[in-house]
Symmetry: C2
């Protein structure tokens, strides 16, 4: 990869470090993701990030050709972080596993309230690339749940169960976003509701399905 | 209101009728709503609508100052139509009422597939005015369900039930949109799933709630 040019302005005040291209890329994404904790994606500023990294705007654009590319890289990072944060703990039984994952989900989005609301309902949420990325994230969640489903439901009609789980993800997002905005119930009541809703939806679809806690 | 000017081009071929301002406004919305049955909102063309109505583009903009105003009026019309089409039939018992409404919902969105997908997931779905309008429509649905809820659940925790019903609307939209795109199950299986899911979600939230069919 191309060698970095140093910033021309000598007294910018920011600390400058020579990083490898991979390290620099990672640093910029990390700074962007940190900014995303307090702001909507559309308000993540290229200039501020460049300043924090001690590089020029031009150099940032060397790593990410457009602002949109940079924003997508930040969202990919945040999505991966959320998936990792909500990884099911295989040492727990299915219901505790579900509760544990959902508690971590609710806490993560509470910490990232502004950007989560913006990502799913803000102006940026209409960009086709972002929609595709958020959708891929939902698919990953659905697949993870379905891979655990044999332990939860037997004799399930798979296409029906797949559709119900996809709908459940929308249920979780909508109730959680409403809760973040209006807080009509406590965090624990929200978690209880989310935990109960998955088996309620999945099991109601197949009266012959047996529950295996 | 201002008197209509007639179209200057004499041989446009379209039939011209002198309508009152209200009639003209209604005619344009009806033509727009008809076009919306086959196209996404962003593809509803001002020029084509004006031609169909036999008026100039300029006159259309007299009724709707911007394209966005015209599009919003069409969506308001379509939302009102959907609410009307899914009005619960008070002569039915609660479960049949729910099934009947959901069948009419699924059939309506099947007939308006392209525009429904575009409205909820397309590029137009990001305009703040449209988001507010779609959200108001969802609220109307939630209120209608909650007004029937006393017949379904007793002792319900109202804020919790309100949140669950809001989440259920998202469940219905997501499963129906996925079904419109991928058709993983039959129409009847989808309707069954939607009918079962509401009491499953609502009742699971309150183990002491009694069902009154």
């Amino acid at each position: 990869m191309t060698k970095e040019h140093s910033v021309s302005k000598p007294d910018s005040g920011a600390k400058r470090t020579r990083l490898s291209p991979d390290e620099r890329r990672q640093q910029l994404i990390t700074l962007g993701a940190r900014m995303l904790r307090e702001r909507a994606l559309e308000d993540v500023s290229i200039s501020e990030i460049a300043e924090q990294a001690g590089i020029s705007r031009g150099l940032l654009f060397h790593y990410f050709p457009t602002k949109q590319d940079f924003h997508l890289a930040i969202v990919a990072h945040a999505n991966a972080q959320l998936l990792e944060r909500t990884t099911p703990d295989p040492n727990l039984d299915p219901f505790d596993m579900l509760r544990d994952s959902l508690e971590r989900y609710v806490d993560y989005v509470s910490e990232n309230r502004t950007s989560y609301l913006a990502l799913l309902r803000g102006p940026a949420s209409a960009s086709p690339e972002l929609v595709a990325m958020v959708d891929a994230h939902r698919h990953a969640q659905v697949d993870r749940i379905l891979s655990e489903a044999p332990r939860l439901v037997e004799n399930a009609d798979r296409p029906l169960l797949g559709l119900a789980v996809r709908g459940w993800i929308a249920f979780v997002e909508e109730t959680t976003l409403t809760w973040l905005r209006e807080a009509p119930i406590t965090r624990d009541a929200l978690v209880d509701m989310l935990v109960i809703s998955l088996p309620a939806l999945a099991l109601s679809q197949d009266p012959t399905a047996a529950l295996h806690p």
